[in-house]
């Protein structure tokens, strides 16, 4: 049976008392190396950028609501979608999953901090700086005294549009440097997560007993190494092209436009999994607790995650079915892409089996998780549709693709993140989020999401390309785009309700206590919020669900696990 000593009776240290004055609080947060505080910094920072990226999305949708609209100029529009994409991927999705990882990984493996606390702080602050740098381009891109302008080359910045001839001024440089620096931060955090997982587990926590969330973060960390490196290399090459006269991507001097695409997508596709794996991770923790059952097929879930990690490295050129790779190349990438649906399918079925025979509790985290399951299913299926290269010759770069990846990122990752917020907020803050407001948030967001992204598929099927600032009235895309735009209103309302809930619950939420969901992993064994050192005495575990063992001494998990 597990031994998890109670933590009551530990004194507040002097340090925490000093932090009570306003100046002390600020100093505390700026200099902190505590993984929990850094996690919270990451999450807060990402939420701020989520709102900024959301405003950009709203402006984009207003412009597209009707054909031949003049809400913004083409120049402004092109900056909007470039900034929206870059922001959402690099300064919302990445930091937010790192934030949760930072907070949860050490505590779930019974550690007191990350392996390299100072590297952790450095990684956060360098990423934060990168985000600010990107937005400073609005002021400084052409030099402060000339008009500033933000990057406008699209978030995948295909060469040679980024060459000095086609993109004079400095907006592209801001983009390049922002991504390069955020990459440095990502590598640092990934290094930390991997090392922490491998070296800092508490006594008894063999790899085979690690919570699935931690397993997945391990895979995700490994993937970050492999994907961020080519991205960083490409940014350096681009800067050399722009300033030192090299010709990697300079087609006017014999460089290759395809080379950039390969570099970008060998980052870009695994990046999708870097982001979606944590969503799986949250599901693996939340679905069992609200089904009141152990996860079904733990070894298969681990194997599937590892498989996804590896296979995701061999599918990048499915973003390039239309560049004229030829039959052999196309066929290979069709196959690799389709194969990845097998481990992904295993996950969905295992979640289903976890719920089967359980006692499903429809609290807000579970509602978001259920929506995740349906939406991720659809996202996977439209993914298969796009993997069929000939179909992709028609759909590539249309709104069908835009709808597909928003189904993954919003319908999948964001819904999982909302679930994670409702689930772990009590642990992080010590108070419950309001269930009633949470349900408002859920329904508003679900309605908005489906209005926007279900209907967005259709203009894609009808040939509407992405990244166009307006479209002709005779194309027959008008009504559909209007519906899509209306959905955004609901989503925006949902997000506002969510932020309100976050803030309100901080002050008046019901006290949570250490274990409000009657859950089974180590983070619920310590107080909410946990003390600086997480555990007064490091726990010892004997199974995958130490708290289950503790609560059911007559029938511990350790009797069943291999």
């Amino acid at each position: 049976m597990s031994t998890i000593p109670a933590i009551k009776g530990v004194d507040e240290t002097q340090a925490t008392q000093r932090a009570r004055t306003p100046g002390g609080v600020i100093h505390e947060w700026l200099t902190t190396v505590d993984h929990k505080k850094i996690g919270i910094l990451y999450i807060t920072y990402a939420l701020i950028f989520l709102v900024i990226g959301g405003v950009e999305a709203t402006m984009i949708r207003i412009q597209l609501a009707v054909p031949d609209n003049h809400f913004v100029s083409p120049q402004v529009y092109n900056r909007l979608f470039t900034m929206h994409g870059t922001t959402m991927i690099f300064f919302v999705a990445m930091p937010i999953v790192f934030g949760f990882g930072n907070y949860l990984v050490p505590i779930m493996i019974g550690a007191r901090d990350m392996a390299f606390p100072r590297l952790n702080a450095f990684s956060f602050w360098i990423s934060a700086f990168a985000g600010v740098l990107l937005y400073f381009s609005y002021l400084g891109a052409s030099g402060l005294y000339a008009a500033g302008s933000a990057p406008d080359v699209g978030w995948f910045a295909y060469a040679p549009l980024t060459a000095k001839v086609f993109s004079p001024g400095h907006s592209t440089d801001y983009w390049t440097l922002a991504i390069l620096l955020s990459g440095v931060g990502s590598i640092g955090t990934a290094l930390n997560i991997v090392t922490t997982t491998l070296c800092m587990r508490c006594p008894g926590m063999k790899l085979s007993r690690m919570p699935l969330l931690v397993w997945i973060y391990l895979v995700m960390g490994g993937l970050v190494f492999v994907t961020i490196s080519p991205l960083t290399a490409a940014q350096i090459m681009l800067t050399l092209d722009r300033y030192l006269g090299s010709h990697f991507f300079d087609t006017q001097a014999g460089g290759s436009a395809l080379l950039w695409m390969h570099f970008f997508w060998i980052f870009g596709h695994p990046e999708v999994y870097v982001l979606v794996l944590p969503a799986f991770a949250f599901m693996n923790e939340i679905v069992p607790v609200f089904s009141r059952k152990a996860i079904f097929g733990y070894p298969a879930m681990v194997a599937a995650s590892v498989c996804i990690g590896f296979i995701s490295l061999s599918v990048w050129a499915h973003h390039m079915f239309t560049v004229g790779m030829g039959a052999a190349g196309n066929t290979f990438f069709v196959f690799a892409t389709m194969v990845i649906s097998v481990p992904t399918g295993i996950k969905i079925f295992n979640w289903l089996a976890t719920m089967w025979g359980g006692r499903l509790i429809f609290a807000t985290p579970m509602l978001f998780s259920i929506a995740f399951l349906f939406q991720f299913l659809i996202a996977g299926l439209t993914g298969i549709i796009l993997a069929v290269a000939p179909f992709d010759w028609q759909l590539h770069n249309t709104y069908f693709v835009v709808a597909h990846f928003h189904y993954v990122i919003v319908g999948g990752i964001l819904f999982a993140l909302f679930a994670a917020f409702y689930y772990w907020y009590p642990k992080i803050v010590g108070r419950m989020m309001s269930e009633k407001i949470g349900k408002w948030h859920f329904w508003l967001f679900v309605i908005g999401f489906h209005l926007t992204f279900d209907f967005m598929h259709i203009p894609g099927l009808l040939g509407m390309p992405r990244q166009i600032y307006t479209y002709e009235a005779d194309r027959g895309w008008g009504t559909l785009n209007l519906i899509v735009t209306i959905g955004v209103l609901f989503q925006a309302a949902g997000v506002l309700v969510f932020v309100y809930n976050l803030v309100r619950s901080y002050y008046v939420g019901k006290m949570a206590g250490p274990d409000p969901w009657d859950a089974w992993t180590l983070e619920w064994s310590t107080s909410s919020p946990p003390p600086d050192y997480n555990f007064a005495v490091l726990p010892t575990v004997k199974s995958r669900r130490p708290l289950w063992d503790l609560k059911h001494p007559e029938d511990p998990d350790s009797d069943y696990e291999l």
């Binding site: 097998v342 719920m355 299926l381 028609q394 679900v446 489906h450 598929h457």
Partner: protein, 355 residues
Amino acid sequence: MSLCSKRQSAGWGKSLAPWMSRGAACGALALSLEARADSPMTLFSPADPQAQSIYGISLFVLYITLGIFIVVAGLLTFVLIRYRQRPGDENREPAQIYGSNQIELSWTVIPILIVVTLFLTTTRVILGTEAIAKPKGALEVTVVGHQFWWEYHYPKLGIVTANELHVPVSDEEHPTYLEVTSADVTHSFFVPRLAGRMDVIPNRVNEAWIDPPTPGLYLGQCAQYCGTQHARMLLRVYVQPQADFDAWVKAQQQPARQDFSSDRTAAEGEQVFMHNACINCHAIAGTVATGRFGPDLTHLASRDTIASGAVPNTPGNLRQWIDDPNSLKPGCLMPSMHLNAHDLDTITAYLSQLR
């Protein structure tokens, strides 16, 4: 489609819940199939054997994925209803089940079988499109993408034109082969009713082919973001009966009209054109204008639109374009020459005569 309309009542209209989205997906499919009539760029109305074969496989995958969706979403819905917590059993912990190798094996093998089926079907279409030899009777056209317009060469016919592609009605033996490349950044040639898109990449030549059997005008547009006016880089493909096409070829092979003895305004316009910067960027065959940065204007008046399909080719639009191209296509690469009203009138008169 019958499958869909039956489910439609279940409601994409009230997609209030995620478990209603099955209806949504289905409704979406029905809607898009029905919308084929009023959308000129829909893949659901193929007008070329290649587009037809893509359409075939598209329906095949759509139905397979729809089938998978119905099964899995159905199971999920069942689980949600059947195993929801009911009043009274709040304190019961259900039996803990940790896994089952047989069951997990089955939901690994079935998807593998589906994947293999899909893969083989897909490969057949890929090979049928990309791995066939060019027939001897093929008409060759070189397509060059430019920041925000299209240039077309017919190397064997000695024709250079812009923005409106003309091809004859054709068959398997006499398709039109497009050699696509770019003069500046990456674009994409996308006319969905005729074929899948082909990217237009600088420093690289890609090959695509079409063999549309029915005459008509097929619309498309650039499908790879290429800069400020990417949205107005439209495509128009005129498929003509052989006789009409031959007549068009004949007319295009002539040099530009130069005898304006009957039309003083046009004659004056020619002089203004030839003495302005226009000739640095535009070519008019048989004159001193040999620029290649902008579209060839030799037979401008024979085109239905100007500025890559942005506006109809009327004297009014033409005049406005020459006066201030940015007013019609903000961010395009032709600068305003700040001509006076008189010069604008005469140049417009001249260009309108270039049939």
